[in-house]
């Protein structure tokens, strides 16, 4: 018996002997190769065009505040875009993650089942709203209604220098941050909720049996178990915020200036700048925009890498080896 089995497994390991297997192998291998080819093509294209643009750039590509890519000679830099993108996205994450974790915990551990299910649907629905709709809502509703909050922040938080406000439409990075926070709320909530739901009953009961209250159960067993999941969820949200285009372009009143106050209009983001400038750009202008897109791509990669590092470092203490 034992001596007869190895040849059989060896034969099937060697390759497809049946037609169905061969076809499926070909299909899946082909799909994999196609994906790699597409990725490579995009990378080559982006790098090549970006290299052309950066070669022609008369200003410092990384530190310059100007964007005159269509001028002769072209002068442009990504400093303002990088600042605006990172600041608005981080702001969105800071605003959204605590709320999302709260909603997720409420759905998974507090709400009665009758309420939890509909609430979940509403969150899903929020994720299905197209970003341009968010943009329109932001521009037509959020912007006019935020002046009150802005004035209040100027009065009480103005001393920090980050929140001074001198009137005018609230088309600032801060408003963009709020809008992005609302937009990434569903994905962060949904992923966190799923993670919290999977938190092992065993550990929850262990905490309960020690005399933990509901909040203590969550603190002792649910949150530690869900930590890496929440980090992944936040990074997914951050990724979406970094690349968000239409909503930002609709709300922000862009300028190539970095202002200390987040409440002052101005600034820009990579995606918004590309959307706004692509149609009117000449050939160097387009290459310059592509170069800025490449930077966005790199930033997103770094964010994902950092998230993986955080998760890997905590693996020993995660629920994975329970």
């Amino acid at each position: 018996m034992a001596t007869e089995t190895p040849p059989a497994t060896a034969a099937s390991a060697k390759g497809a002997t049946r037609k169905g297997d061969r076809i499926f192998l070909g299909l899946s291998r082909g799909s994999g190769i196609t994906l790699l080819a597409i990725m490579a093509a995009i990378a080559v294209f982006l790098t090549w065009r970006a290299a052309l643009a950066i070669g022609a750039d008369e200003a410092n590509f990384l530190t310059s505040f100007e964007w005159d890519a269509n001028a002769d000679p072209p002068r442009f830099g990504i400093a303002v875009l990088a600042f605006g993108t990172v600041v608005s996205s981080v702001l969105a994450m800071v605003l959204a993650v605590p709320v999302a974790v709260g909603i997720a915990l409420f759905i998974s551990h507090y709400a009665p089942r009758k309420l939890a299910a509909p609430l979940g649907y509403v969150i899903d629905l929020l994720a299905a709203v197209p970003s341009i709709v968010y943009g329109l809502w932001g521009a037509l509703f959020l912007v006019p209604h935020l002046t009150g909050l802005y004035t209040w922040m100027d009065t009480y938080l103005g001393w920090t220098g980050l929140f001074t406000y001198h009137g005018g439409a609230a088309r600032s990075l801060f408003t963009v941050g709020i809008l992005l926070a609302i937009m990434i709320l569903p994905i962060v909530t949904n992923v966190s909720r799923e993670v919290f739901r999977q938190s092992p009953k065993m550990q929850e009961e262990a905490a309960l049996a020690l005399g933990a209250t509901r909040w203590e159960v969550i603190r002792m067993s649910v949150l530690p178990f869900g930590r890496s999941g929440v980090i992944s969820a936040s990074m997914l949200g951050l990724g979406r915020a970094l690349g968000e285009t239409m909503a930002v372009a609709t709300v922000l009143s862009p300028s190539f200036l970095i202002k200390a106050s987040l409440l002052e209009p101005g600034g820009g983001t990579f995606a918004q700048n590309i959307a706004a400038g692509f149609k009117e750009a000449g050939s160097t202008g387009r290459d310059a925009l592509i170069a800025s897109g490449l930077v966005l791509f790199v930033i997103t990669l770094l964010v994902n890498g950092a998230a993986r590092l955080i998760i890997a470092r905590r693996k020993e203490y995660s629920g994975a080896n329970a």
Binding site: P200, M202, Q203, E205, A206, A207, L208, A209, L210, G211, A212, T213, E216, M220, S221, P224, F225, R227, E316, Y317, S318, G319, N321, A322
Partner: protein, 258 residues
């Protein structure tokens, strides 16, 4: 320290399903009482009514009375959280908190009670681990995660965690069913030592184990699948295993069913 449990007319439900019916018994302090019976007879459910863990389950509710000395566990105004601080529990599968170190696992219950003094904690953690016969194996790696221990060590860690808060009663729900014979022996020895300090109730499927560790044995049975479980008889372990009053008990322990 250890308290007497006095149960009268206790029934437990899952929604409209009655899982156990009209159970009355007394569990003596500083003794080991074993619950035996076929699967589904409600012994685990009954165990979980003794620290109000049953009602955590969806639709779980209880009728009847459980007295811990003079205190009615189901009395009006009794907080289930404080009940669980006096009645500790060890589960079927070892469930240390995977994100906490060995030290933190043992200290977890004390921290819930608001005890944060480092010196006291060190002392209690050491005493509890010694009490659970685990100290010598882990004293050099108290800051390593508890999930890195073997199954038997994890279960003793859970026992250390449970006794660290000095409960009146220790409930054990098949504490050895996931363990190998050597680890099982270690836990059984430990139970023998712990009974001088605690009232211990243990659910087990292993009749030899019940015979080895317990002073009193309660046999539970159910008339048919879907019918509520009932207490058939409770008596001194020696008597249950040599000369039980009820025929069903004898059939069960002699392996004629179950």
């Amino acid at each position: 320290m250890a308290k007497r449990i006095d149960v009268s007319g206790l029934s437990a439900y899952y929604g409209s399903f009655r899982a156990i019916d009209d159970i009355s018994m007394t569990v003596e302090p500083r003794s080991v009482t074993a619950f035996i019976g076929p699967s589904g007879c409600g012994k685990s459910t009954f165990l979980r009514t003794l620290n109000r863990m049953h009602e955590v389950t969806n639709g779980g509710r209880v009728e009847g009375k459980v007295m811990l000395d003079d205190e009615d566990l189901y009395g009006p105004g009794v907080d289930p959280v404080s009940v669980r601080r006096t009645v500790g529990m060890v589960f079927q599968r070892p469930n240390p908190f995977p994100t906490m170190s060995i030290y933190e696992n043992v200290a977890a219950g004390l921290r819930l009670n608001g005890d944060h003094r480092k010196k006291d904690l060190d002392e209690i953690v050491e005493r509890s681990l010694k009490g659970a016969n685990l100290w010598n194996e882990v004293k050099d790696r108290l800051n390593r995660p508890g999930s890195g221990l073997s199954g038997g060590q994890q279960q003793r860690l859970c026992i250390a965690r449970a006794i660290a808060v000095e409960p009146q009663v220790l409930l054990m729900d098949e504490p050895c069913s996931a363990l190998d014979p050597i680890s099982t022996l270690a836990i059984e020895d430990l139970i023998g030592e712990l009974k001088s300090r605690f009232t211990i109730v243990i659910v087990t499927h292993n009749m030899q184990q019940a015979a080895r560790v317990s002073d009193r044995t309660a046999f539970f049975n159910l008339a048919e699948v879907g019918a509520p479980g009932k207490l058939v008889e409770i008596d001194d372990t020696e008597r249950i295993f040599s000369n039980p009053t009820v025929q069903a008990t004898e059939d069960y322990i002699s392996g004629r069913f179950g």
